[in-house]
């Protein structure tokens, strides 16, 4: 065997010995077996969504699309869908806007303040969602929280936060924004710092306004990074479970019952396992389709950005 061929895949397939050809698969296999092993339940989920499986029943049988029809015709499902989408879109939109703003300030100022903040800002991102919820309960609580004291100054007493269906979504979105804006900041900042210098230098000579440069140069070249940040955040926010669960368990009423929480509640509290699965399978479908669209957009943006350089 020629030594050079040992870095496999470099040679012609016909001349590479079998052992070398299968080596990459063998190397990937353990990782794949471990992860695929854990994904078997996912395939089972599709099957069980077609049965009346329940932890309280001794047996289960195939009941066709009954669960699906029942789920999709229920008010609960549409409410959950609205909550999930509203939460995902609101949290991601605020994080993206705020993250971009802060990242641009950090990049533009580049003074001592911005250098210290760049390091310290990652702290909320590293806090577990449950811990973040506790942190904010300590802030918002009407007896020990400092925000209550602050609002009292303005004559607002006992702002309900998570206790009222009208402000519950606002409260969880604030917590999500507090945790995850740093993710956007870091990604946008990295994108800003990798921008090529030359287009901006020629724009300076042309004498375009700051706004003109932002819209026509910075934004298009930043877009690929923005789409990646958007992809990661939106996919996670659409299925957010920990923050809502630890703050209100989906309440008050049904005001925070997202698809994830509804599926959990139906499956475990109400013991209707087969009936719980369509809720979460629909969410998975939404996530998958959205992710594909964003990836497509990201690729196009990358090509356009490359053209600008």
């Amino acid at each position: 065997m020629n030594k050079k061929d040992k870095v496999a895949g470099m040679g012609n397939l016909n001349t590479v010995p079998f052992k070398t050809r299968v080596r990459p698969y063998l190397i990937v296999a353990p990782a794949l077996i471990i992860t695929v092993g854990i994904m078997i339940p996912f395939v089972m989920a599709i099957w069980y969504s077609l049965t009346n499986y329940s932890f309280s029943l001794p047996n289960h049988r195939f009941i066709g699309l009954k669960n699906w029809v029942n789920v999709i015709s229920s008010f609960k499902f549409w409410n959950a869908l609205v909550v999930s989408v509203l939460y995902g879109v609101c949290a991601t939109a605020v994080e993206l806007a705020l993250g971009m703003g802060v990242a641009m300030l950090l990049n533009h100022l580049n003074n001592r303040l911005s250098k210290i903040l760049r390091i310290l800002l990652i702290f909320p991102l590293m806090v577990a969602p449950v811990t973040a919820t506790i942190v904010w309960q300590l802030m918002l609580n009407s007896s020990v929280g400092i925000i209550e004291k602050f609002l009292n100054v303005f004559g607002i007493f006992n702002f309900p936060w998570a206790a009222s269906p009208h402000t519950a979504l606002l409260t969880v979105v604030i917590i999500d924004v507090w945790v995850n804006t740093a993710f956007m900041i870091l990604l946008v900042l990295a994108g800003l710092q990798s921008l090529p210098k030359s287009p901006f230098e020629s724009a300076k000579i042309d004498g375009g306004s700051a706004w003109f440069n932002f819209v026509n140069l910075t934004l298009p070249m930043l877009k690929p990074s923005l789409y990646i940040a958007l992809l990661f955040r939106l996919m996670a926010a659409l299925q957010e479970y920990a923050i809502i669960f630890s703050l209100t368990k989906g309440g008050p009423g049904d005001s925070l019952m997202s698809l994830s929480l509804t599926a959990y509640q139906t499956g475990f509290r109400f013991q209707k396992f087969g009936y719980a699965l369509p809720f979460i399978l629909v969410l998975w479908l939404i996530i998958n389709i959205t992710a594909k669209q964003i990836v497509k957009k990201q690729r196009t943006a990358q090509k356009q950005a490359a053209g600008l350089e």
């Binding site: 870095v7 895949g9 470099m10 794949l32 092993g37 590293m126 300590l138 609580n141 698809l259």
Partner: protein
Amino acid sequence: MNRGKKRLLYVVQNILLIIYGIFALFPLLWMFIISLKSDTQVFTTTFLFTPTLENYKEVLLQSDYIKYMFNSLIVSGGAVIVSVIAGVPAAYALARYNFHRKEDLAFQILSFKFAPEILVVLPLFMIYQKIGLYDSYFGLIWVYQLISMPLLIWVVRGYFEDISVEIEYAAQVDGYTWYQIFFKMLAPLVKPGLVSSALLAFIFSWNSFTFPLILAGTKVQPITVAITKYLGTDTAHYGQLAVAATVSAVPAMIFALCIQKHLVRGLSFGAVKG
């Protein structure tokens, strides 16, 4: 723009940054402040009070909190070790070899990250009950692979891709075997990337909530689930709640400081090379 205007703009920009800084950091400071207050001071004082370590003593010495932390450590540490052993070779293969359906395979691994956790965990709960993995370290370590494995493979793959193939050829010409090249030459080169993504995977596993909530009983319960006990019970002990939160957050923050240079790359799974 004249000088005065520029000066004003600069001041406004700094103030905006400071406001965001307060929003991001003050809640953590407030948590720490409350953790040092006695049960009565929590209600009666704001910033001026006599700090006490009573809450820390109560949570760390008088309760099972240390046990839960230990559980978190075993499960997260175990998950990262498994991911490193199985994931690094996979990352190498995905970076270096060209084989049939390579990109499909890589995306398949990435897609695990986007699967809703509840979707995975509902059927898994039944299986774990049946095969006896419910409430076991092994069971949790296994399911945590969905958090740590995609991260590790994608990030480390990027670091392998950064190393030129030429030096591998050169070493082969010098007569080194594949294993020698991998461990003596490539491993040291990817080490910074590997260590940082392993730490990030550890943080994510440490913070994981949904998996252990459903798949762990009282025996292997990690800190994130145990902490909800402090949330539910009588609400007078805010100090203890603050201690529980502080103690669970500190390890992740320290690790994050160690890897801040590699953080962007890790968080974006290698997509953005910060």
